[in-house]
């Protein structure tokens, strides 16, 4: 049998569609398994107005279940003459077991009355009508609301429920809405509800202007948008996030080209693109030099009656937005960037100087938050940093300073680029150190000041720019230091096994680049072959302190002493590892031929000292004891 579930809603937020379409198939698959219902596949799709859940080849009924039930102890179930007592009879009767099929079973709890029962599987329809409403109300939306008297919570009001198992309606009710075999098409183009069947459902959606698969909507938008951009001699300013947003705003996307007065191109194109993207959700079009062209692409929610009028209407809105942007920009230009500084960001400046006493860095730190008080950034917070750099450039600030202002927030998201120059990177670092040490550390999942992001960004900048910094020297608060190191570890764990990351942390001693170098060297090294012997060394050394000892005499220990002595402690970890690998056969022979804990106390101490030397060299690269499984 096949199941179609369609949850009809008032327009869902994009994030809610995402959460639901991820949760529903995963959870339903588990629920069906535990309900003993087999199926071939589950799929889920979403549009702003409906969530779809499809199950293919679902078995018609649950598998039967054989199980054993345990009852009261025999001394309670039977009387002295071996007759069933009321308690014994009651147990059997409640489970519909005949006295003949009951038996005695002995376990560690004693001997009890027991019976095998056979549970006949129920029809899938009955199981689903209980399971589905619960499943639907379990979707973990970030935000939910109430809208009617049962006070049911969902991301937006549920207005219809279509639920067909083959062609039978699976009956249930949520928030006063009863499931049925009816659905509707596009809100404006085909709003009437109609009866559908398994055979007609998908055709119905298609013919009634609902593209239920987001990936199809995205592909359609992209194809048409590329075409439109090309038609005016440019290319689409591709934007995956915007594409996702607009694909989740409509059931039937219809990209349309609009244009604006080229006069507005005298405003920095960052402002224009931001207006189009953030406020209007329009795509922008660039020429081959990445300069903005005076066009935009709207993704309408239906095939319009008159495209030109629709484009003109949108252009009018954009014009008003641009006029406002121009107003703020021109107002801002009446002042110098320094005029916007109400109070110099002294703590940030101190951090910058702590990192590097460079006049350009100092200047950049002084200026970097000034643009937060400008009119443009007040209207478009996304343009922080960018506006500062535009105004700084107009004020004739040094190019390095201008660049640093522009890149101070990089990396802005996971996978974003890090600042391109040393000064930019140091400014970004100083800003993050300031945030991390100034704000309260987050508890739970909330992170209002973005401290996790700050710590991850800090890690990525240090690693990308190979800054040799000891974080312990920089961050005096142990809790903050621990917080940062945990995020740094998280960054390494994205690409490295946990054993390697943990084995190298102590040796790196709060120097992230040194940590990375050790990880790199260790990953290319066959540590499995040597870990056990170094672990043995480290165990012995941990238990025995070093002190003045006697003279070594056995050939194997003298060979080991020589080899250890020749290993130079350095930052060339690959070289050190190959030298440490050479110690392995020597150590094996040493342990085979020599008794470390000999009764000769002076000799014993000499051997312990030798092992301590081995341990000292090994620990400089990694804690091998953490590398054994």
């Amino acid at each position: 049998m096949n199941l179609i579930l369609e949850i009809g809603c008032e327009e869902l937020p994009a994030s809610a569609i995402q959460v639901a379409t991820e949760f529903l198939p995963k959870q339903l698959s588990e629920e069906l398994k535990s309900a003993r219902l087999d199926f071939e596949a589950i799929e889920s799709f979403g549009t702003p107005r409906r969530l779809l859940l499809l199950v293919l080849n679902l078995s018609a009924s649950q598998k039967d279940l054989d199980s054993e039930v345990l009852g009261p102890k025999v001394e309670i179930a039977f009387n002295a003459t071996g007759q069933l007592t009321p308690a014994g009879l009651g147990f059997l009767k409640a489970r519909n077991i005949s006295p003949e099929s009951a038996y005695q079973k002995t376990s560690d709890k004693g001997t009890v009355l027991a019976a095998k029962i056979h549970e006949k599987g129920r029809p899938a329809l009955a199981v689903l009508s209980e399971l589905l409403p619960k499943l639907i109300l379990q979707i973990p939306f970030a935000k939910t609301m109430r809208w009617e008297k049962s006070k049911t919570r969902f991301a937006r009001p549920i207005r219809w429920l279509l639920c067909l198992l083959d062609n039978q309606v699976v009956p249930f009710e949520i928030a006063g809405v009863t499931s049925s075999n009816k659905t509707c098409g596009h809100r404006f183009m085909s709003p009437d509800f109609q009866t559908v069947t398994q055979e007609t459902y998908f055709d119905f959606l298609k013919q009634n202007n609902v593209i239920f698969d987001r990936e199809k909507r995205k592909a359609l938008i992209l194809e048409k948008a590329h075409e439109l951009a090309k038609s005016v001699g440019g290319h689409l300013n591709e934007d995956a996030e915007l594409l996702n947003t607009v694909a989740n705003l409509v059931e039937y996307p219809w990209p349309i080209l609009g244009n604006f007065d080229a006069d507005y191109l005298k405003i920095p194109q960052e402002i224009l693109i931001c207006e189009m993207r953030e406020h209007q959700k329009y795509f922008s079009i660039l020429d081959s030099n990445q300069n903005l062209l005076p066009y935009f692409i709207i993704v309408a929610g239906a095939q319009p009656i008159a495209e030109k009028q629709l484009a003109a209407g949108n252009a009018r809105v954009l014009k008003a937005r641009f006029a406002d942007g121009a107003f703020y920009y021109e107002e801002d230009l009446k002042k110098k960037l320094t005029d916007f500084i109400t109070e110099p960001p002294q703590k940030l400046i101190d951090w910058a100087l702590k990192l590097d006493n460079n006049p350009n860095l100092k200047r950049a730190a002084y200026l970097c938050k000034a643009d937060l008080n400008t009119g443009v950034v007040g209207q478009f917070p996304e343009l922080q940093g960018i506006m500062g750099s535009i105004y700084a450039h107009k004020n004739g600030e040094n190019a390095e300073v201008v660049q640093a202002l522009r890149e101070q927030y990089w990396p802005r998201f996971s996978g974003d680029k890090t600042p391109s120059t040393k000064i930019s990177a140091l400014l970004s670092l100083a800003d993050r150190l300031h945030t991390l040490t100034y704000r309260k550390l987050p508890k739970g999942s909330a992170d209002p000041y973005g401290l996790r992001r700050a710590a991850i960004g800090l890690t990525r900048i240090i690693l990308d720019k190979k800054f040799k910094l000891n974080l312990q020297d920089l961050i005096s608060n142990a809790e903050v230091l621990d917080f940062v190191m945990t995020r740094a570890k998280g960054v390494f764990l994205e690409s490295t096994p946990v054993l390697v990351v943990e084995a190298t942390q102590t040796a790196a001693n709060y120097d992230l680049c040194a940590w990375q170098a050790r990880i790199g060297a260790l990953e290319k090294f066959d540590y499995a072959a040597v870990s056990a012997v170094f672990k043995r060394v480290s165990n012995i050394v941990a238990k025995n302190p070093t002190s003045q000892g006697g003279t070594l005499k056995e050939p194997s220990e003298i060979a080991l002493l020589k080899a250890v002595g020749s290993i130079q402690v350095s930052e060339d970890f690959a070289h050190m590892l190959s030298q440490l690998a050479n110690l392995k056969p020597l150590l094996d022979t040493f342990f085979a031929e020599v008794m470390v804990m000999t009764d000769d106390l002076e000799l014993r101490q000499a051997r312990l000292n030798l092992l301590a030397e081995v341990q000292h060299k090994a620990a400089h690269v990694a804690d091998f004891s953490k590398l054994t499984l």
Partner: protein, 301 residues
């Protein structure tokens, strides 16, 4: 439906539409407010279990949005059309779309879209979930299922529709500059525009808001009105207390427009207004309870 020819016809048709749907047609408040939500017909009436369906025009003031009458899209004084449906019906979106058709706006032609927007007014302890409704890329209505007001979870979820009248009328009349909107066509055929009625206001009030409003006086009045509101609350005179709270809110907006609110004082002002709003809300709810929620009773009989 034919297009509404004038600004006043948009209002008249919306009033007729919502009156036909069972709304009381109320009138704007006579205290300065930043939005129709602040009118007691919304802010207080959404509290408690009593049913309440109302529609009214609100005259709104946002001092910082003044542009001296020079910007074709921005005003420091503008009009909202506010609808409250409590309890929320099961088809508010359909009703809303029908109301757009009633003023001559076709949803496909104007690419009407419901774009997620969770409305929140921390200063009033009010929050809801819903959308900005877009027409050709412009927000023309705020559509909210009220969940909380005055810091109180609502017994009955109310549906709030806030139409931006100038923006809607600009689409209906297809004009680029709001001052060109035709407000009325007189029997003589003479057209009276939005500019004829409001341009001088915008010029003078912008100068007042940004330059001439007396900061020291505004701050003093804020203190006086806040104190008065508290006294009235103690006397359980919640409706007068609420008006004084509204006055405080407007004075704060004026101080803000004058650039006289230091960053450090902002949370203080907002906190004072929020406290008053919350006390008014819970005090109003109590007073209705003491009266036995009369409108609940009359709805049932």
């Amino acid at each position: 439906m034919s297009k509404a020819q004038t600004f006043q016809e948009v209002i008249l048709r919306l009033q007729q539409f919502w009156s036909d749907k069972g709304c009381i047609i109320a009138q704007p408040t006579d205290v300065e407010v930043g939005a129709g939500t602040l009118n007691k017909h919304t802010f207080l009436r959404v509290l408690g279990p009593e049913p309440w369906n109302v529609a009214y025009v609100e005259s709104c003031r946002r001092p910082t949005d003044g542009r001296y009458g020079e910007n074709p899209n921005r005003l420091q004084h503008y009009y909202q059309f506010q609808v409250i449906l409590k309890p929320a019906p099961n088809n508010p979106q359909e009703l809303y779309l029908e109301s757009l058709r009633a003023i001559g706006l076709d949803p496909i032609e104007h690419d009407i879209r419901f774009v997620e927007d969770d409305w929140e007014h921390p200063g009033l302890g009010a929050a809801g979930l819903g959308w900005e409704v877009w027409a050709q890329g412009m927000e023309v209505t705020q559509f909210t299922y009220f969940q909380q007001c005055g810091g109180l979870e609502l017994d009955e979820v109310a549906c709030e529709l806030t139409y931006g009248l100038e923006r809607l009328a600009m689409y209906v009349q297809d004009v680029d500059n709001l001052y060109d909107l035709v407000w009325a066509i007189l029997p003589s055929g003479q057209k009276v525009t939005y500019g004829d009625i409001h341009k001088q206001d915008e010029f003078e009030w912008s100068h007042h808001n940004f330059t001439h409003a007396n900061i020291e006086m505004l701050a003093r009045h804020f203190k006086d009105y806040e104190a008065q509101a508290k006294v009235l609350l103690e006397q359980k005179l919640v409706l007068p207390a609420y008006e004084y709270a509204l006055k405080c809110s407007h004075l704060f907006n004026l101080l803000d427009a004058r650039g006289a609110v230091q960053a450090i004082d902002r949370p203080l002002y907002i906190g004072q207004i929020r406290d008053l709003a919350k006390q008014c809300a819970s005090s109003y709810l109590e007073s209705r309870q003491e009266l036995g929620f009369p409108m609940l009773v009359s709805a049932a009989s």
